[in-house]
């Protein structure tokens, strides 16, 4: 009888312990972390390029962005942004088609036609207002959709965070983007670089406080930017099917 009671007691003890462990697993060290490590085999080189970019930003890009904000009113800056953004629509359309996304192929084409005409050369984003939402697609995303992995993380001089695949996408756009090709054909190559520089200044102006504050509140700004870039790109690629993907699929807490 005593033996039987002892058995029951032990069973109860085991079960209670089990319950306790189940409910308190997050309060001890039993944390399952499935976060993939960022693939950054060239970290030393990347950190060097990052330091160069930081200096470039400090002495040239940020002051230019501040000057741009000071001289031009918000309406003009928005117009310039819209104009430059409109020029990227044909390339976005081609990439959407290469990805098999016919909906966005039509959407980007419609955006380009509407904004180039009614929107006066793209200065006004009329298309968004009438329901054609912008969805930018580039060649890096196209490669990803067809199964090309990102490869190692790469910091590009002047251009910042990238991966081998995305850098390849950028290079391809220089040779295949219809707007770039048209400018080259008409011997107006300098406008390609002017456009790129303007895009960079505009981006920095839009994010002056955000980037500076992120820098000031990061222990390791290089790692923070790497994380932001890789996650954002991954999300842009996965956006093809947002509802069916678990946004935290790579990261679990048990």
């Amino acid at each position: 009888m005593l033996k039987c009671n002892l058995k029951v007691f032990i069973k109860i003890l085991v079960l209670v312990t089990l319950v306790f462990i189940t409910n308190c697993s997050v309060n001890n060290s039993n944390i399952v972390d499935k976060t993939p490590e960022a693939e950054d085999p060239w970290e030393n080189l990347n950190r060097g390029t990052f330091a160069f970019n930081q200096t470039f930003d400090k002495y040239l890009l940020a002051p230019l962005a501040k000057g741009y904000r000071f001289v031009f009113p918000a309406e003009i800056r928005t117009g310039v942004r819209n104009f430059l953004s409109n020029l990227s629509e044909p390339w976005s359309s081609i990439n959407s088609a290469l990805q098999g996304d016919l909906k966005n192929t039509g959407n980007t084409l419609a955006r380009f036609v509407i904004n180039s005409t009614i929107g006066i050369l793209g200065i006004f984003d009329v298309a968004t207002e009438i329901g054609f939402e912008k969805q930018k697609e580039d060649f890096g995303q196209t490669l990803a959709i067809h199964g090309v992995g990102p490869g190692p993380y790469l910091v590009l001089p002047f251009l910042g965070p990238s991966t081998v695949r995305d850098a390849l996408g950028k290079i391809t756009s220089l040779y295949a983007d219809p707007v770039t090709l048209a400018l080259e054909r008409n011997n107006k190559d300098e406008w390609i670089w002017i456009g790129m520089a303007l895009k960079g200044i505009d981006f920095r102006e839009q994010n002056l406080e955000k980037i500076d504050n992120l820098n000031a509140t990061s222990v390791d700004f290089y790692a923070t930017l790497r994380s932001l870039y890789l996650e954002r790109r991954s999300s842009m690629i996965r956006n093809q099917n947002t509802d069916e993907t678990d946004p935290f699929q790579d990261f679990d807490v048990e």
Binding site: V8, K11, I12, L15, L18, V19, T22, N23, V26, N27, N28, S29, N30, I31, V32, D33, T35, A38, K134, L208, E209, K210, D212, N213, L214, A216, T217, S218, V219, D220, A223, T224, R226, S227, L228, E231, R232, S234, S235, M236, R238, N239, D243, D246, P247, F248, F251, V253
Partner: protein, 203 residues
């Protein structure tokens, strides 16, 4: 009798896990509440930085499981090899750090509208998909990961435009944790928390 005891404990095990009582509607309402509180913070004048920070801190304490978040960010190995006093100190400093980050990144109110679109329950968490729309800015997508903790729903991670708060901070702290350990990280964060208030976007 033996069967009765077993059945009783299986039943007890099932219902004692608080995660099972989290439903989609409850999670949705919880996030709607957070959105409303966040909009209220946006409406606080930018000059009143102290009030913004206090409200943000209240929101974090009330709605986020900061203890769990801080432990996940440190990772299992660091948690295992640190004393509870160190972990407590880190959780406090980390909370101030998060307040510093978000009070500097939250802009001003320009007609932003917060909307919850759909909710999914996966394993023991609810994933609430929401958007912030504004006439001046592109739509921002936010996914909230909610877990019931002691019968109360709490945010355990949030993903803004695909970027997870947990993963970003985990990566941010990885190098210093490797080089100088938790004490070094606490010291660094304490130092960073003391810097003067940053300029808010739109200020």
């Amino acid at each position: 009798m033996n069967l009765f005891i077993k059945s009783f404990f299986i039943f007890f095990l099932f219902f004692s896990n608080p995660a099972f009582s989290l439903d989609a509607e409850k999670a949705k309402n919880f996030v709607v509440d957070i959105g409303n509180q966040a909009i209220k913070i946006l409406k606080i004048p930018v000059d009143d930085k102290e009030k913004r920070k206090n409200e943000l801190r209240n929101l974090l304490q009330e709605k986020f499981d900061m203890e769990l978040i801080s432990k996940v960010i440190l990772g299992g190995n660091v948690v295992k090899n640190s004393s509870s006093a160190q972990l407590k100190k880190f959780a406090e400093i980390f909370e101030l750090h998060i307040v510093k980050i978000y009070s500097s990144q939250l802009g001003t109110y320009k007609g932003q509208v917060f909307e919850v679109n759909n909710t999914e329950i996966k394993k023991k968490d609810a994933f609430v998909y929401s958007t912030i729309t504004s006439p001046d800015y592109p739509t921002t997508n936010i996914v909230w990961r909610i877990r019931e903790r002691n019968t109360v729903p709490k945010v355990i991670d949030m993903q803004v435009e695909g970027v997870s708060l947990l993963r970003t901070k985990k990566n941010d702290f990885a190098m210093i944790l490797n080089q100088v350990g938790l004490e070094g990280l606490i010291e660094k964060l304490d130092e960073m928390n003391k810097i003067s208030d940053l300029k808010i976007p739109g200020e």
